[in-house]
Assembly symmetry: C2
Homo-oligomer: 434 residues x 2
């Protein structure tokens, strides 16, 4: 049995709980899970908290953490997961490629209660490349599928698999003449592998075997976009859409096999192409949950890509993207620090919330803040904002000598002045105003 | 003569220069200025650099600075203008309400070469309120118009005038039952004044006199939105749209008097109402340049309102807003610091640039960064990004031991791996990969 098969059979306790958390009709949610418009990444070995991702639900956010060959510190990565979850991460992905990857992944799984995602191809490629004179392209099919099964046995809840990097899409990529070619790490592994070995991508050629594993361990597939555009100039081009078409066909096959599946998307996309990107994913992939990275709507703001990603993410989620992967200020520059993780998580959370508002979800929090603002009730404001500590720190850094107001307008606070006329009907006089 | 009257008569040297800077047809630009779809705020006494704002041109950004009663430091405000202009501010507004306002304004005008805007009603209200037992509502018409003329004589290039806060719109506001009533400082002054004195807003009642002053000194009017919504729940409501209709009629009158005019807009607006807000401003105000504050697309993120404003601003500008007023991380909490000004300016610049990309303006910068990224050419990247110092600082904070790449993926850089296959056709082997 898988969670999807269960949902096809009837309402379950877990689905009822999710429906309650999301404020949606349980039967409608059950149908969405059964038909694949909603996924619930949940490997029974890990058994994380229930997180529904997809149509009609709150927009969810993912936070990537993980070591690099240049920076290996397990404790720091664990601390990152804590910060991310504190500020609203719905899931974590461990993208570690430095140090003892197995140990790090297992430590994270033990620590976090949210679903964990991984990209097993990293480990498969790395382990082969580590051997004497080895290279990523020397991976065998066994290396790839063994890594996937190892992650599944550890309890990983969802895995990115770059099944759409195929001989066909590689040819399209070569003919395209891109500015930045391939920027997906997994995509680059598989494209190199296909070109070097002149063979089809094992994740595509043996997709049925992948489905067997996913069904056996009940993890969710996240179909990676190895050919996502790496810059504005490459956005929405033929290799990107070719890969999406291939992924759409695999979505159908996964659903028929009772395997939950979502689809990953760009990447670098100018603002006016975001709606198109969401629509074409939804049509070609039969409304599979759409998991986007950013999207980043300009290339010129390294150091501020969390803001760039929040702009793109808010708009993508408004148009129907279901799941936003955060971007940190250090994107394109360095492995993120703890501060970067916090800034990135909050920026992504803002984007998700902004889209929820447009879908008339979670309006209460904004109203609570606004009413408190009107009443100059700072305590209630701080209780309802995304980062109470920062808000309080900013307010107290420069306090007003006047009660209730902030130091921006001080005694000339518009809210206070209007209150006196609409509510009290008498003006501030003399010293009160200077 | 005014700049607008000149443009009605024929092409001028200044308009040719602007057309060249913007890469647009000079005659088309001339018509846009003559018909009011583009404004060039330029008081001949100040004679700032040429900045065109409106249809078909690059999106411009404004940075607010200024003292508050609680924090008065002229040097800091001057430093803010420097930082703002360094990071791309096209105009500055001095909103000072603390200390010697005249002196601060004059110092700023002497320092900056970009157009300066002010809100003279602040000074008018303050000076009356400072007198024994005085209150803002004791302002006379003379106080108001004298303040405007003083600013004009100093060389202020554009002025916010809250002409749409009228007896009619105040009644509409009262009937609306808003959550946050009035959050515009100038709007609150004038609403209080109307209610206290039971008289019409002098800026509305004597609009022809205002036009006389604007024509005499050739400053640009920025019609303020005193009833802009102060929270998501109040967005796009009747008082807001009522005020906009009144402003639209005043736009026609200003143009007939050869006075340049733009229209200010919200404020707090959920993402899905931004298109509507831009469209209704453009229709009711006959395509007058639209100057928006944010818009802020959620109320729950104080401390991060520069990100919230960048989301709203990018989308507003994509739909046709011409001029973005920045928002800093300290919005709703405190008077901004120097750091806040920098963060706010860059966030706003990102929003403007993101919209320019959608209008096929300024694509070259993104392409230059992308090509450099592909070539792992960091120097060229840093030359073309919005904040080279921050980007460099982030990169060097955690360097990779590997040449060319960054510490995020280190030796497993996707770009490097793909380069080897597409360009060099040989894999990294052995120690190169670990």
């Amino acid at each position: 049995m898988t969670l999807m098969k269960d949902a096809k059979a009837g309402l379950t306790e877990d689905l009822e709980k999710i429906a309650k958390m999301e404020g949606v009709d349980p039967e409608k949610l059950r149908r969405s899970v059964a038909e694949g418009r909603v996924v619930v990444p949940l490997n029974p070995i890990h058994a994380p908290r229930l997180v529904g991702i997809g149509s009609g639900l709150r927009v969810k956010i993912n936070v990537n953490i993980g070591t690099s060959p240049d920076h290996i510190d397990q404790e720091e990565e664990l601390e990152k997961t804590k910060i991310a979850i504190e500020f609203g991460a719905d899931t974590i992905m461990d993208l570690s490629i430095g140090g003892d990857i197995d140990q790090i992944r297992r430590a994270i799984l033990k620590t976090i209660d949210v679903p964990l995602g991984t990209v097993p191809i990293y480990q498969a490629g790395l382990e082969v490349a580590k051997t004497t004179n080895g290279a990523v392209v020397d991976m065998t099919e066994d290396h790839i599928f063994n890594a996937i099964e190892k992650h599944a046995k550890d309890g990983v809840d969802f895995m990115t698999v770059h099944c759409g990097v195929t001989k066909e899409s590689v040819e399209r990529l070569k003919r395209q003449g891109r500015v930045t070619d391939v920027v997906s790490r997994g995509g680059s592994f598989l494209m190199a592998w296909i070109l070097h070995n002149d063979k089809e991508n094992p994740l595509f050629a043996n997709f049925d075997h992948l489905l067997d594993l996913a069904r056996k361990y009940d993890f969710t597939l996240s179909l990676g976009d190895g050919f996502r555009p790496g810059c504005i100039a490459d956005a929405t081009d033929r290799p990107q859409i070719q890969e999406l078409i291939l992924l759409g066909e695999l979505v159908d096959r996964a659903r028929n096999a009772d395997v939950q599946v979502m689809v990953e998307g760009p990447g670098h996309i100018p603002l006016h192409q975001i709606q198109t990107n969401v629509q074409i994913q939804k049509t070609t992939c039969h409304d599979a949950p759409f998991y986007v990275l950013g999207p980043l709507v300009t290339d010129v703001a390294p150091g501020y890509d969390h803001i760039v990603g929040a702009i793109g993410g808010a708009l993508a989620a408004y148009y129907g993207a279901d799941f936003l992967c955060y971007v940190t200020p250090s994107e394109h520059l360095a492995l993120p620090t703890l501060d970067d993780v916090r800034e990135g998580t909050i920026a992504s959370k803002i984007a998700a919330h902004v889209a929820d508002i447009t879908h008339e979800i979670d309006l209460g929090q904004d109203l609570a803040v606004s009413k408190a603002r009107k009443n100059l009730d700072w305590e209630t404001q701080f209780k309802n904002v995304l980062d109470p500590d920062k808000a309080q720190r900013y307010r107290t850094r420069r306090m007003s000598t006047e009660d209730g107001v902030c130091s921006m307008c001080g005694r000339l606070c518009a809210i206070k002045m209007v209150k006196q006329y609409l509510d009290d009907d008498k003006p501030m006089r003399g010293k009160d105003t200077e």
